[in-house]
Symmetry: C2
Subunit: 344 residues, 2 copies
């Protein structure tokens, strides 16, 4: 039995800048009401803390239900940064907690890349690059997920905001030292933002939000790129890294119904939609143009498309599909974890 | 009035793996007694914590004095990782504290690069690269210090242990993703050491010693370099970065007494001794050979030489020179801070 299209569903997007909750009808794509909190759910020793997320999610859901006059929600989808690698506490505690607090039995826990995907492309096959402070690429042919990067600022996130900002600050320090690879322009921008170069380590390392501090310098790198060759090279390298991740996850096969004959390599590769999403692409053509160039070289069947919606819209779309039993995006123990417990 | 060559002096080396103290005679180069602690002095909100350092240094000094039968020390030199950027608390509190506890009025606070320099080259002009988890290059013509890098694992330390290990782990994650630039060999080594690739972020990011964890993978990169082209490229890039820092700090001028005429560029550039010190170079020729090659291309007047001693020997040498009023290494407010308060 499906919950029906008239039911209400809740989408949640938990990220580095806070938590957003949207309530909407399962048959509609857009939210009826949205609540935003500026307080991010911090990561503790057990990963993303279920108690802290619930402490925001449950009151927000109550408030949204009160605003719309809805009695209950038929499904909840939570997208969270770090869900894939740090979501054990959520997977362990959220089903029972939400069944208790909101009487909801249909729950999806999605990596933020998956909600970005659903927001951008809905339930169509393709690939999404989600780039902000970090960077992850996800693709699916609707049979399985392929993921590239999203490993954080030390192991990857290659081409993301922290990556670009870090490279820019390194170039500033090189200029300070008189080392090869330095940029006087980036040094000037770094000192305007953060003060004397030699004091930057003392500012950066004690912070707990180091990736965000690094990423805050990415727009300066983009601004310098038009006139500074070091900054231009950083953006070009970022674009190459982003294209490498996108190319690694683009589905290659023909139509998913598998009826068409496999021809030569040229014929059997269908087009792959690639949506570039996330705040990093607000940099604009200084980054977008080289990403398209690099992607054309690496994956000729890829075609960049605008994202239809954001990760919050994606969470709501997943919750709606779950309520209607029409979720076609592949389940996965870490990427898209779904539980549909029955009432006891 | 000098304290005289017969006086006792104390050298201290405070680093990421602990604190070492050496007591020796001012006229001798080598320590009479050494005490080692495995407990590093951690960095707090005010930088290196003076109270914690004193908590180790004073009892160690008392013990060393008791062992040798010496009554007091004439000078103390403390070399510490992070002294240049995080040493404010030490500079504020150590002079009075050591005058009180050890009756010592001659104190030098040196960046660990400076003690590495003094240990390697004594008081001769030249350049030193100190590479372990991090990487810093220091050079002097005995009129001023030139520093390159040593800015930590996010802003630089280019070519150091954390840099090499990080690049190796990134290549492992690329292989896991099927991205360009991946190395199956490095992925295999990373999984042998840390477990499944996808779980590496969950292991690494909650740690407070992330640079050390990254650096622990550097020997694996070195071991793979003979047969794996990605690992070989990482070592070659590390060598290039190290050579860039060394080249940036090599003194260029002729004899320091400045009597010789300046000829053409070819004639006026004298040889510059460059000592490569620190645990990273235990990797051996896989790293040393490309460093020498890159350095020859960047700074033809540079000549790599073995280090005479380690940073603890350098701290003792600085303390000895301070006691004898023969300190020729340039004073500097952050790199080599010297105070010689008189008795009240």
């Amino acid at each position: 039995m499906t919950a029906g299209g008239g039911a209400w569903v809740l989408g949640v997007d938990s990220g580095g800048s806070g938590v957003r909750c949207a309530l909407g009808r399962a048959e509609e794509g857009s939210p009826a009401e949205v609540l935003t909190s500026d307080e991010p759910v911090r990561t503790g020793p057990a990963g993303i803390d279920a108690g802290r997320l619930l402490g925001q999610l449950v009151p927000a859901a109550m408030e949204l239900l009160a605003r719309t006059g809805a009695e209950r929600v038929a499904a909840v989808a939570v997208g969270a940064a770090g869900m894939a690698s740090l979501g054990d506490d959520l997977r362990a505690k959220l089903p029972a907690a939400l069944a208790g607090a909101l009487k909801v039995r249909r729950l999806a826990l999605a990596a933020d890349g998956v909600t970005a995907y659903a927001g951008a492309l809905g339930q169509r096959p393709g690939a999404v690059v989600a780039a902000g402070t970090g960077m992850i690429a996800l693709g699916t042919d609707l049979t399985r997920w392929r993921r590239a990067d999203g490993w954080g600022h030390l192991l990857g996130d290659c081409g993301g905001g922290a990556w670009i900002g870090r490279a820019g600050l390194e170039a500033a320090m090189r200029a300070h030292d008189g080392r090869r690879g330095g940029s006087a322009a980036l040094r000037e921008r770094a000192e305007a933002l953060f003060g004397p170069a030699a004091e930057l380590p003392g500012l950066l390392y004690p912070r707990t939000d180091r990736p965000a501090v690094l990423a805050s310098f990415a727009p300066e790198v983009a601004r310098c790129a038009a006139s500074d060759p070091v900054a231009a090279t950083i953006l070009r390298e970022a674009a190459r890294n982003i294209a490498e991740s996108a190319a690694a996850v683009c589905p290659e096969a023909g139509p998913a119904d598998g009826d068409s004959a496999h021809g030569t390599a040229d014929e059997s590769v269908s087009e792959c939609e690639v949506a570039l999403t996330g705040g990093l692409f607000h940099i604009g053509d200084a980054l977008l143009a080289p990403v398209r160039q690099e992607l054309a070289a690496l994956a000729p069947h890829a075609r960049t498309v605008p994202a239809a919606g954001d990760p919050l819209a994606g969470a709501l779309l997943i919750a709606s599909a779950l309520a209607r039993e029409e979720l076609r995006l592949p389940h996965h123990p870490r990427m898209l974890w779904v539980t549909t417990e029955r009432d006891g």
